[in-house]
């Protein structure tokens, strides 16, 4: 393959994103206490975490900080590297900033923190960024500690309809198929487009149609291969996988922590205590 085409094939944003996702999932093969927890335990904790984070008022900033304890502790206990998570977080950050950036305009009421006075909208903006970062981190960690199939089995146990579980599972597998076919088709196109960059407008239609047909064909064969190996919609958990004492302790600790920081303003109390102590 000529170098340019090779680069094109191996580093299109789509293939990169998918490789990233698989890398995230391959972390689920680690064997730590967190990984061994029942998927339902981790699902419930993550959902509780999301509810706690999103239920804070619009301009909460300081009160969100204790929530970061959760991703920090999980990362430490589950032996997760920081880099891939920060990378993915930075990748979605522009999107989040884009959503929140207008807040200072809509909500110009001045407020003061210490000596600084600024529009209340800035706090809302910061709050949105923090909340979404927390949510993204928790979701990524859930995948990295549980794996897609186990997570879906957990969702099924929690009552998600089987059809939906199946849809998500297949979509997840087929995205790779689609990306590969796109890569191949673009490579074939580039090789015969005498070095011009990009895809000619006139060729888009037939290229897209071709892509659809080929992915469909391929997806069908992948599905057949899965069925031949006993696939029935989602991979059931191995028999004997039941939540144990560890799961109960894990769940109880985190749920009480979330309730505690939701009810009491810990950073404020900590601040008072510290100033009382020193002053």
């Amino acid at each position: 393959m000529p170098r340019q085409v090779e680069r094109h094939f191996h580093s299109s944003p789509l293939t990169n994103a998918i490789r990233d996702m698989h890398r995230m999932e391959s972390l689920s093969l680690l064997d730590t206490g967190i990984h061994r927890l029942h998927p339902v335990t981790k699902l419930i904790t993550t959902i509780a975490f999301l509810i706690a984070a999103l239920s804070f008022e619009r301009h909460a900033v300081g009160r969100l900080l204790p929530l970061f304890l959760y991703p920090l502790v999980i990362a430490a206990l589950a032996d997760l590297p920081w880099k891939p998570f920060l990378k993915r977080l930075l990748a979605v950050e522009p999107l989040i900033v884009g959503i929140g950036i207008l807040n200072p305009l809509f909500d110009p009421v001045p407020i003061s923190i210490g000596d600084i006075t600024l529009a209340r909208g800035w706090l809302t903006f910061l709050s949105i960024v923090l909340k979404t970062s927390l949510a993204v981190l928790a979701a990524l960690q859930l995948i990295a500690c549980t794996g897609m199939e186990r997570m879906l089995s957990g969702m099924h146990l929690l009552g998600m309809p089987r059809v939906l579980v199946m849809q998500i599972s297949l979509t997840y597998r087929y995205i790779t198929v689609l990306a590969e076919e796109t890569g191949r088709l673009l490579t074939a196109y580039t090789l015969r487009s005498s070095g011009k960059r990009g895809v000619r407008a006139a060729a888009w239609g037939s290229l897209a149609g071709m892509l659809l047909l080929r992915s469909f064909d391929r997806a069908q064969r992948v599905h057949q291969a899965m069925r031949l190996r006993g696939y029935s919609g989602y991979a059931p958990l191995p028999p004997g996988t039941r939540p144990g004492l560890r799961d109960a302790v894990f769940l109880a600790c985190w749920l009480s922590w979330f309730v505690l920081i939701r009810l009491a303003d810990l950073p404020l109390l900590l601040g008072r205590w510290m100033t009382g102590f020193f002053g």
Binding site: H22, R173, R221, M226, G230, A235, P238, P239
Partner: protein
């Protein structure tokens, strides 16, 4: 043991677009037998395998595996006993790592994690790629992908193996490795291929397909050496079975009788130059 027996009884199948791909095929493979299925492109080899696996439903006729007829009800059980290796390993490897992929079948079968692990190790060792366990399938070479695809089937411990063109697209060394592997199996095997040398090597018996029908069924060494039959079915007699240019002996006898004259300009090898196969 009869549960390793494979039977196709007057199978007929037409694709939804109206193309009659299989027009009445019957054959059987007995315990431990390796049967080659050959024929030109489009003869219906892949379609036949899909019918045997219950991936397509015949319009007429039936498939029997180990004496049990293939129906919607018996399908899950039969699929545990018959493993199919696809022509393109990319269609078969979809999990993030080779180890996970090989574990996919045993997990679906509901085995405990400990046994799943043993099966994975056993299967990867059998095909000689235990060291690739944690690698991503899409990063492997063609030969390694084939080995991984075969391992993912072996992990399910089938009695019967069905392989669609197992040596297609492999370099000579990878091809020899796959052949050695297949030769070492004791499963009942059904192998389709264009690689007639491989079929000659692995399968004592062949079924030759032509336009969705059985054109011949018999001993590989005999059928593949018949020039008219082979030409009629869109294939060529493999070099190893062509008559010796010097003495006309089939297959090569390893020596020519004294006095046999070499035709001028003969490009076909002779008994003197190639040892008998």
């Amino acid at each position: 043991m009869s549960h390793h027996k494979l039977e196709a009884i007057d199978l007929k199948y037409g694709y939804p677009d109206g193309h009659e791909a299989i027009r009445g095929i019957s054959f059987e493979a007995v315990h431990g037998e390796a049967v080659g299925i050959i024929g030109a492109n489009g003869a219906g080899k892949s379609t036949l395998l899909m019918l045997m696996m219950g991936l397509l439903h015949p319009n007429a006729g039936k498939v029997r595996i180990g004496g049990v007829e293939l129906t919607a009800k018996t399908l899950p059980d039969i699929r545990k006993r018959v493993g199919m290796v696809f022509q393109n390993p990319d269609d078969q490897l979809f999990m993030p790592t080779v180890g996970e992929d090989v574990a996919f079948g045993p997990r679906n079968a509901g085995l405990a994690e400990l046994e799943v692990n043993q099966r994975v190790t056993m299967a990867l060792e059998r095909v000689g790629i235990l060291h690739l366990r944690d690698r991503a399938p899409f990063k492997l070479s063609g030969g390694e992908k084939h080995a991984a695809a075969i391992a993912s089937i072996l992990a399910m411990e089938p009695d019967i193996l069905v392989l669609d063109e197992p040596t297609a697209g492999l370099d000579p060394r990878a091809r020899r490795r796959v052949m050695r592997l297949l030769a070492g199996f004791t499963h009942t095997r059904l192998i389709t291929s264009h690689d007639l040398d491989m079929i000659l090597d692995l399968c004592p018996r062949v079924v030759i397909l032509k336009e969705g029908k059985v054109a011949a069924d018999g001993l590989t060494r005999q059928l593949l050496a018949e020039p008219d039959l082979m030409a009629d079915c869109g294939m060529e007699v493999p070099a190893l079975l062509q008559p010796c240019a010097r003495c006309g002996h089939v297959p090569f006898c390893g020596h020519c009788p004294s006095g046999a004259s070499v035709p001028s300009g003969a490009s076909v090898p002779s008994c003197a130059s190639v040892p008998s196969g």
